[in-house]
């Protein structure tokens, strides 16, 4: 690790400026969250009047309780969070599971159609869900999977990026490992579980963060496919709460907003090291 500033001209004054700018950056980034956090502790009338508070207010508990369990008009964040959680976990874990075995197959075997399979997977990089959205909806509709968790999860669960990531990593596994396994009489699946998976832990962790965030934050696809209240995700539910601004209860929207960003932020912060490592070290 090097340091872009040479030691010969580091001065305390410049340090101070650097820190100041960085802290300013941190504050600017934190400001929206702070406002929303504070706003969620006040009542609807205060916010509606425009008295945007910078300090906490007295209504935190009741706002969050209402947002969590819902009102007569709206289902609560509780069920929406659950939907989002199931969806994000299923997408993250599902993608990892499906792509790791695909990459394993493509790298460690020889079979007819291997290159074709690889290219087929590779091409899907160019087909994000947004460009095939209505026909995909029709397929889901034909299968009767609209407004089901399956319909939410399955179309986004095959990812080329993860496959490519695993593939690259697998290419770096030394031949000796494979030879040793063969000599021991171990079959490919035994090799997979005993050698490949443990080695891939960092990659899997990094991917988990990325895919969990991706899954949790899905917008366009759930917008089409999950309109029933039972399968609504919290990100979409929150935007729908804004609706026509005439009736919006801003304090509840803010509370839901905070709830909506907690899980992915928690995942990123807690798994930060692996996440960053997974993203950037693959450059090496």
């Amino acid at each position: 690790m090097s340091n872009a500033a040479s030691t010969t001209d580091a001065a305390p004054k410049r340090d101070w400026v650097t820190h100041a700018v960085l802290l300013l950056g941190v504050v600017v980034f934190a400001l929206p969250i702070w406002i929303v956090l504070m706003g969620s502790t006040h009542d609807s009338a205060t916010i509606g009047r425009g008295e945007v508070p910078l300090l906490p207010g007295p209504h935190a508990l009741e706002n969050y309780a209402t947002a969590w369990s819902g009102t007569r008009d709206r289902i609560g964040a509780q069920s929406m969070m659950l939907n989002s959680m199931v969806m994000a976990l299923a997408i993250a874990l599902g993608k990892i599971a499906i792509t790791i075995v695909s990459a394993f197959a493509v790298v460690f075997f020889r079979f007819p159609g291997r290159q074709l399979a690889f290219w087929a997977i590779f091409i899907t990089l160019m087909l994000p869900v947004e460009v095939r959205i209505f026909p995909t909806f029709k397929v889901i509709s034909d299968l009767g999977m609209v407004n089901t968790m399956g319909g939410l999860i399955i179309p986004v669960i095959a990812s080329a990026t993860a496959t490519l990531l695993f593939r690259q990593f697998f290419m770096t596994i030394p031949d000796e490992f494979v030879e040793a396994a063969k000599i021991d009489g171990a079959g490919p699946m035994r090799f997979f579980w005993d050698v490949v998976v443990p080695l891939s832990r960092t990659n899997m962790a990094a991917l988990f963060v990325i895919l969990f965030v991706y899954g949790w934050n899905q917008y366009l696809w759930p917008l089409l496919v999950a309109t029933d209240a039972e399968v609504e995700t919290v990100v979409i539910g929150m935007v729908k709460m804004i609706g026509s601004e005439a009736n919006t209860e801003w304090n509840l929207v803010m509370a839901t907003c905070v709830l909506a960003l907690l899980p992915p932020v928690a995942v990123v912060m807690l798994m930060q090291r692996w996440f960053v490592r997974g993203l950037t070290e693959t450059e090496k």
């Binding site: 090097s2 340091n3 872009a4 500033a5 001209d9 580091a10 340090d15 650097t18 700018v21 960085l22 950056g25 980034f29 934190a30 929206p32 969250i33 406002i35 509606g48 425009g50 945007v52 499906i98 695909s102 197959a105 460690f108 075997f109 079979f111 399979a117 087929a120 990089l125 994000p128 947004e130 460009v131 959205i133 209505f134 026909p135 029709k138 397929v139 399955i154 669960i157 095959a158 990026t161 990531l165 690259q168 290419m171 031949d175 063969k182 991706y214 949790w216 934050n217 917008y219 990100v235 935007v239 804004i242 907003c257 909506a260 992915p264 990123v268 912060m269 993203l279 950037t280 450059e283």
Partner: protein
């Protein structure tokens, strides 16, 4: 979704061309079984719908799909002859450029500064990393609470200071706001890469330059920036793709393409035409245009990012 750095670049065509493992397994059916889930989903939910999108682009049909006529390229010619569509193209270009430049610029500045504080760098990274986790739509809602003309902190302040701030009525303000909200979210992702890139620059090179008497700013532009160029280039492509697609949520939450189509991007218009206006032909034609753009961006990424320009 290109999330992970140049890993993708190196595993693309170059890798496939010749570098393969020497020691492999030779089972017959096992690899097919392993590939089956992904391939099945890929065929059913990627290729089949994509093919349909392309096919629909050449049809004109009513909302119920009862009357369909093959119209050749008419949907496409209608699109490109429509001045409003061209305006949407322009909006998208402005939007994507704005988001990319803003988020890259801010991220580079912060990363360069953080890099100078070797101990605190990780702390700053922790403090700046979390916007990555926020959904674009959520980010948009956060910014509503800052800039709403009636309930937003800054929005009210602007109006009180005499500036007529209302992004629901003023197209330029709306565009500015969606750019801000989108860029804000991306800075942390770019920051991670820039910081890692800066930290991987060999110390010796910089010290040599310093000894030669080069001032910090000059060192930055003549040495550091070129060494960062693969990272920068990669990030440009990633940010462009992000601005193209992932920002749908931002626009839907903030402006819904308004006012008067001022913030309507290509992806948003394709959605509205298909969903609200029930015009599947035009929407599919627009999807095809988007597909082509993505393909070009992806190819650029693989072709050029691969060739890392060092000295």
């Amino acid at each position: 979704m290109s999330c992970c750095g140049t890993s993708s670049a190196r595993t693309g065509p170059e890798r496939a061309r010749g570098v393969e493992r020497k020691v492999v397994f030779r089972q017959r059916w096992l690899p097919y079984a392993l590939l089956a889930p992904q391939l099945l989903i890929t065929i059913v939910f990627f290729f089949w719908p994509a093919a349909q999108a392309v096919w629909f682009a050449f049809l004109r049909q009513d909302a119920f799909g009862i009357r369909t006529t093959f119209v050749g390229f008419e949907n496409f010619t209608d699109l490109f002859a429509d001045p409003l569509y061209l305006e949407v193209v322009r909006n998208t270009a402005v939007f994507c450029t704005g988001v990319t430049i803003l988020s890259l610029g801010v991220a580079l500045l912060l990363a360069a500064l953080a890099d100078q504080q070797i101990r605190a760098a990780t702390a700053y990274r922790t403090l700046l990393i979390w916007p990555y986790a926020i959904a674009p739509a959520v980010a948009a809602v956060l910014w509503i609470f800052l800039f709403h003309p009636q309930i937003g902190l800054i929005g009210r302040a602007l109006n009180a200071a005499g500036i007529a701030w209302d992004y629901k009525l003023n197209g330029n303000q709306a565009m500015l706001l969606v750019i801000l909200a989108s860029a804000w979210k991306q800075v942390s992702y770019n920051f991670i890469f820039f910081l890692a890139g800066l930290q991987s620059i060999p110390k010796s090179v910089l010290e040599a330059a310093a000894i030669d008497g080069a001032r910090p700013m000059r060192r930055f532009w003549t040495i550091i920036f070129p060494l960062l160029s693969p990272t920068t280039f990669f990030l440009i492509v990633v940010n462009l793709v992000y601005a193209f697609f992932d920002t749908f949520g931002v626009i839907d939450a903030l402006t819904k393409g308004g006012p008067a189509k001022a913030t309507e991007t290509l992806i948003y218009r394709a959605y509205v035409d298909g969903r609200v206006n029930l015009d599947l032909g035009s929407s599919s034609a627009q999807s095809v245009v988007l597909m082509i753009i993505v393909m070009m961006l992806t190819m650029v990424q693989f072709r050029y990012v691969e060739r890392r320009v060092h000295y």
